[in-house]
Symmetry: C2
Subunit: 471 residues, 2 copies
């Protein structure tokens, strides 16, 4: 059975000249459509191989697993695998502090490192990502395969509009598009005046595909509008996103589709998990994200026990690399929240699916007066309200012993101060609607359109002022 | 003779796995040290091949050369080649306006395009650069070869601190370092807060080599100082620069060397000419720039006749690609100014040299009261003045019928308003010194240190207000 799977081996090596038949919707037809149980059986063998590799090449995993009484050779069932202790971000930071700069989970020779990236470290010490030369090729191959699934083809122009720096999103999109023999315009983002220039270049080169964060796509549409250019004139067909949950938030998704007239595809797990596109929608299954289980092994787990939850249930993703030899992650705890299902996918791929994408981080969930509020719920709600100006802010603060939640939203109605006017009705109705949706008392305020800061990368809409009082 | 030259053919194809013997200072020992006349003879054959290729694949060159009565087959001497009409930037803009987006000098199939880059178009319509897939490999190979000449070796960490976007400088440095099997940290630049983060990552990863614009390196040193970190702690050994003439301006060069304690290497021709590193200093010949004539054919010409000037003379560079098959430039007029020599180079390479680098653009030269002033002269002078705060501005304006030149320089002396004090002396002496150096009357003003804007990319110090009155 394993022999039937295209180019299935560890360490992975793909034919760098391979391209599928142009009429095929699949890059690897067999691997993508095979019986999922057969695929899982092959993955189980691979998990053992990856663990043996990590055990023999890294002090980090050896120490961790020895302490837990786990031996790679014992991983003969998924039940056994689920007892492998998860890796946390805190452990990686500690490992890198003790073994700078790449930590004792590097697993390959330093001379094999091709690219160094990292977390931005705006909060806490940054983590360095070291990606090996062969791993980079394999990542490019996997991303090309997933882009193929989105409908991108050789010769298509792909516009990458996210900052090229430590952030891996833009680099991963670029590597995949290059491997797929696309024409790439690695435009980047982030510097002054770049968004207006992006509008010029999109109008001029009329790309087929586009990558950014969802926040930035909305920002770009606003800037295009302000320059009198309809974003639909860019002629984009496929827009794929990572870095934020937005592309699976229904109203954000609709807003992007409406503005650009393109198919919106959500993808992405975590930078540490590059090839991060291993969770991605496809042209035939454009909603949610499929879990390409032969690239990265995705489990959705109970956040306490880290055992998988049944299909249909909510849990936190736990990720395991199947092909990385530099800094392989084995059971990395994401702290994200999602729900998974296994059902027939219209595209024919036999992968499990996250129907609502990854809808939030456990850390991002706002705990207020015993209720849990997801910032994405607020975003989704506001985008459905007429008169909404496109940006908002959530402030949580403690007044005395009480927690208070303030939502400030832009409003395009300009008749402020007129009781019974549109702005007045917007404030009253939106505030009441939010309160009813969230089940907590909300102080709602409207501000004029174009007054709140727009995200040039990922949006940061939540200001939790209680954090300061806790420390 | 041609057979002796390593991998010498058109279209170029290099062995992607080749690396020199680690002890060799040369990537291609024979090509780099051979008799220059023999090399030139091989180049002459190549020029004919490149012209035949361009003539047969592009309407642009066919039309241009037919009109001038030039036939590729007739190029049997450099005298004949010097009669090939130069290509101007205006012609490329016109070609792209009539044949969007890449112009009728593309020369390869659009499906072969790998990357799209371009001019930033802050003034005038932007020009799009289309670079083919194989050309990109050849560019990477050439840049790897030149980086080897700078002393960079496989496994070295290379930090790239310039914006990744349309600008080709950062991408060219990256491609070369990747091909050389370096560890690359493609940090980029330009977004808010990135310079401070660059300081953190430089201190943490301690790269051997560094790429940026000279202005940005000085900015980075200031930010490091302000955070209490001595830039020498980064441990950089080789810093290579393009995008601006700074790395060949003696005082700028010294300022960077002093701040970082590293060897400063100047390189770079024009974005259109990528592999733009074809003019570059080496570890053994660190001053000025060598002209790697077997990668790009560099002529230094009379700016009126576009015939080469004798070695020892000043002129304007005219560039010809020897290996590009996508948008090959044949006799591209640079509008820059330089001086070339042919003498024994300490590194043993038998290339001509630009001892002072490319010291300015004809367009940048300030014509004032019949005198020519190079902005780099002002920069160089100020950096030698004690009390200089690190940044300045040159304003040229017309008052009545008279042109006036105002230089505003930062001063670190804070005793402003005290006649006979340090600030007072700084103003008087610097103003007089500038006037004597430039031969024109200068109104000199000092401002407090850290008050003028710093360049995040290339410096823009000249404000010529006369331009508005002309139009």
């Amino acid at each position: 059975m394993t022999s039937k799977m295209e180019d299935w081996r560890f360490p992975a090596r793909y034919d760098q000249h391979y391209l599928p038949d142009p009429s095929s919707p699949y890059w690897f037809p067999h691997r993508e459509t095979m019986d999922p149980q057969e695929r899982d059986a092959a993955v189980l063998v691979r998990l053992r191989e990856v663990m043996e590799y990590a055990y023999s090449t890294s002090t980090f995993y050896r120490t961790k697993w020895d302490a837990a009484g786990v031996k790679p050779a014992d991983i003969t069932s998924f039940e056994a695998f689920e007892q492998v202790p998860v890796v946390t971000k805190a452990e990686m930071r500690e490992s890198q502090a003790n073994h700078p700069p790449f930590g004792d989970y590097l697993c390959c020779d330093e001379s094999e490192i091709h690219h160094i990236h990292g977390t931005s470290g705006t909060t806490g010490a940054p983590t360095a990502f070291a990606i090996g030369r062969r791993d980079w090729e394999v990542i490019a191959d996997n991303h090309a395969r997933i882009l193929w699934g989105m409908g991108v083809r050789p010769g298509d122009t792909v516009f990458v509009a996210a900052l090229f720096s430590l952030y891996l999103g833009s680099w991963g999109a670029l590597a995949g598009a290059e491997r797929l023999h696309c024409r790439v315009l690695p435009f980047g983002a982030g510097a002054q005046g770049m968004t207006a220039r992006a509008v010029t270049w999109l109008a001029r080169t009329k790309p087929k595909a586009f990558y950014a964060t969802p926040s930035y796509a909305l920002r770009l549409a606003e800037v295009a509008d302000s320059e009198g250019i309809d974003p639909r004139e860019f002629g984009l067909q496929v827009m794929f996103f990572s870095g934020e949950p937005g592309a699976s938030v229904p109203a954000v998704r609709t807003a992007i589709e409406d503005a650009f007239g393109a198919t919106v595809i959500d993808c992405g797990t975590m930078a540490e998990m590059t090839p991060f596109m291993s969770a991605s929608a496809t042209a035939g299954t454009p909603d949610g994200m499929l879990l390409w289980q032969d690239i990265v092994w995705h489990e959705v787990c109970d956040p306490e026990t880290f055992r998988t939850v049944p299909y249909g249930s909510e849990g936190t993703p736990v990720y395991t690399h199947l092909e990385r030899t530099s800094q392989p992650m084995i059971r990395l705890a994401s702290n994200d929240l999602t729900r998974w299902v296994l059902e027939d996918n219209p595209c024919g791929r036999t992968y499990p699916k996250l129907p609502e994408g990854v809808y939030g981080r456990i850390d991002d969930m706002i705990h207020i007066r015993g209720e849990n509020v997801y910032p994405t719920e607020v975003d989704n709600f506001l985008r459905g309200v007429s008169g909404y100006g496109g940006e908002h802010q959530i402030v949580v603060r403690r007044t005395g012993s009480m927690d208070e939640m303030i939502v400030r939203a832009e409003c395009s109605y300009t008749d402020s101060g007129h009781p019974g006017g549109q702005r007045d009705a917007f404030e009253r109705d939106t505030g009441a609607g939010l309160q009813s949706l969230l089940g907590v008392r909300v102080t709602f305020e409207s501000v004029d359109a174009h007054t709140l800061e727009r995200a040039e990368h990922k949006s940061r809409r939540v200001v939790d002022e209680r954090e300061h009082t806790k420390r």
